[in-house]
């Protein structure tokens, strides 16, 4: 079990995650890329930076993670509202093109309603529990950059994780066990929401 988990993390970090042919994309396909990503930005914001309050920013999302998110939604492995349906509309190759585009977009972060005291406490919790994977300070993160991500989205995702989605379920279980409370997760969310 544990070996599986670390193998999975390693895969995410190295970027080799799905069995796609490691094909370099032809520059001629750029018009096709825009045709595809144009269908994303209406909801996820210009260049993938969402104006919120809940739809997540997908700009700057690492390519393998984007691909995994789309594939998991396509295969019903990841809960979603509309994205399960939407992801089904794209081929593996198209998903890779989108992933490539959004991974290269700069994240625009918007101000959120943050409780600064909670954010301060969240910062400590983050350092202790989350920073090893979700680097915030330097933002050369090996995993998905959650700095400045929309707080309602983070809450929805945490709630999904609690119901057994992926390796985050055990990470959360550990966090809640150690802190003896789920409320402290809210402090983490305020910390991430406070990041500009």
């Amino acid at each position: 079990m544990h070996f599986q988990k670390y193998k999975y993390i390693l895969l995410l970090i190295t970027g080799v995650i799905v069995n796609l042919p490691a094909k370099t994309l032809d520059t001629n396909t750029t018009a096709q890329v825009f045709m595809l990503v144009n269908t994303c930005v209406g909801c996820h914001g210009i260049d993938g930076s969402s104006l919120g309050p809940a739809t997540p920013t997908i700009a700057g999302m690492r390519k393998p993670l984007f691909i995994k998110a789309m594939q998991d939604m396509k295969n019903g492995l990841r809960p979603s509202t509309v994205m399960g349906v939407v992801a089904n509309g794209y081929t593996d190759e198209e998903i890779e093109m989108m992933a490539d585009f959004f991974s290269k977009q700069k994240v625009v972060r918007y101000r959120q309603n943050v409780d600064l005291e909670k954010a301060q406490r969240g910062k400590e919790l983050h350092k202790q529990y989350c920073d090893s994977c979700h680097k915030i300070e330097v933002r050369t993160q090996p995993l998905f950059n959650i700095a400045g991500q929309w707080m309602p989205y983070l809450r929805f995702r945490l709630s999904q994780f609690k119901n057994g989605d992926s390796m985050m379920a055990s990470a959360l279980e550990y966090f809640v066990l150690k802190n003896d409370s789920e409320e402290r997760l809210e402090e983490l969310i305020h910390f991430y929401g406070s990041q500009q």
Partner: protein
């Protein structure tokens, strides 16, 4: 798209990016190609903006009579008082300042497809190389006995947002507790298929808080409606649907729901086979619809009242070098929604650039997502991906569907949060 700059289509379509740029310098002295867009709504704005974003060597003019734009989407939430009318108001300033689009605040009254010009109410004539027509819907004023344009102050349709929305809101506020609101739904197709039912939901939401003895009746010309099981489930949960205390009643045609005539003086409608009489305190007639006036008058519509187009490029099947997008066009399986118009406009922008710059048009990709807010923190959705198949826009197998029935309150709450995000992002796509 910041790094999605001028002429990338040409560059790419012509082969390598370098060849495209070289091509540009060789032909630099030529006159700028001119695109004119009629209609500053969900389709027209996006078409104009995305052409300029992709290729700022094309001159783009957007013709729109109103300086303020009120989004139809989210206007039902103005009726319930959840939002103010000002919160759904937008202006076109950034389209000119940021994207160099020539904004012309006037009405297009005639198109000369041979001379390739558009004549404006103000007297000016504008020439185009390509014209994009995105006028939204117009109403079939002759379709309902006793109701026409002269009555819209007393009996608003509120099917275009703005002053009509404000009138209906004021009538709801002035209505007594115990009053009856009647909404009549025209035969399909009409703009925004789930909107009458979202409207009824929002009015019920307002009544529940402020006028709990009141009722909203939906008289429907259609036997079934968009997201129907989800609406009914939501109405049962929030508004007692199906009980004698229900805030909402839906009357399909087989139960006498089809509108026959209106008596504006008496605020009464006649509906169904036996022309039963129903009196309202507030009457909201959604008129039967057709393509926008300019499209019909310019010979862009067929005898259905809508505009047939090549569904890959949106070029009119009836007139050369003119494209029709949004509610007015016949776009295969896509519904007449703001998001459909947004998606079609982006595809059309690429087609127009390809046509003007001589590139190859890539395979189009379309999406529609649509949320309906049934109550506070309670929303449902439908989404689909569409592709071109056998020359027609069709939903991709397995890639269309609605939110599930029996979802948790948390799920509905998340959809409401996503609905507001949808709104913010689509309006930013249009206006910033």
């Amino acid at each position: 798209m910041s790094n999605f700059t001028r002429r990338h289509f040409l560059g790419l379509a012509a082969g390598t990016a370098a060849a495209g740029i070289a091509g540009y310098y060789f032909i630099a002295p030529r006159a700028k190609k001119k695109v004119v867009v009629i209609g500053g709504g969900a389709g027209g704005v996006i078409a104009a903006k995305y052409i300029r974003k992709a290729d700022n060597m094309i001159d783009v003019t957007l013709i729109e009579p109103n300086k303020d734009y009120y989004t139809c989407f989210m206007s039902n939430e103005v009726l319930s008082g959840v939002h103010t009318i000002d919160s759904i108001k937008f202006g076109y300033d950034k389209l000119s300042s940021q994207y160099g689009i020539n904004m012309v605040y006037d009405s297009a009254i005639a198109i000369d497809a041979n001379a390739k010009t558009v004549r404006l109410q103000g007297g000016t004539t504008i020439a185009y190389d390509r014209l994009i027509v995105s006028p939204g819907v117009d109403y079939r004023w002759d379709a309902i006995d006793g109701y026409d344009e002269s009555l819209i102050e007393k009996i608003p349709h509120a099917w275009k947002a703005g002053s009509q929305t404000v009138i209906l809101r004021k009538q709801l506020e002035a209505m007594k507790n115990g009053g009856t609101v009647i909404i009549t739904v025209p035969p399909k197709p009409f703009r925004c298929p789930p909107a009458p039912y979202e409207r009824a939901s929002q009015i019920a939401h307002y009544m529940k808080q402020h006028k709990p003895q009141s009722k909203v009746l939906i008289f429907d010309a259609n036997q079934a409606f968009a997201k129907q099981p989800l609406f009914i489930e939501g109405w049962k949960k929030l508004y007692g649907y199906g009980t004698d205390k229900s805030f909402i009643e839906w009357i399909p045609p087989e139960e006498g729901g089809e509108l026959v005539a209106v008596d504006a003086e008496e605020m009464t409608i006649y509906a169904g086979e036996f022309e039963d009489e129903h009196k309202a305190d507030v009457l909201n007639i959604v008129p039967p619809q057709k393509a926008g006036k300019i499209a019909i008058e310019s010979g862009l519509a067929d005898d259905t009242g809508w505009c047939p187009v090549n569904q890959q490029t949106f070029e009119s099947s009836l007139q050369k070098d003119i494209h029709v997008i949004g509610d007015s066009c016949i776009a295969g399986a896509m519904p007449k929604s703001a998001y459909s118009a947004n998606s079609q406009a982006k595809v059309c922008a690429q087609a127009v650039i390809s046509a003007l710059e001589g590139g190859k048009m890539v395979e189009p990709s379309f999406v529609n997502t649509c949320y309906s807010l049934i109550g506070d923190d309670f929303a449902i959705s439908v989404a689909a991906i569409y592709r071109l198949k056998d020359g027609k826009i069709q939903a991709t197998q397995g890639a269309s569907g609605t939110s599930p029935l029996d979802a948790s309150l948390e799920y509905r709450r998340s959809e409401a949060a996503y609905a507001y995000s949808w709104y913010k992002n689509i309006t930013s796509d249009m206006f910033s």
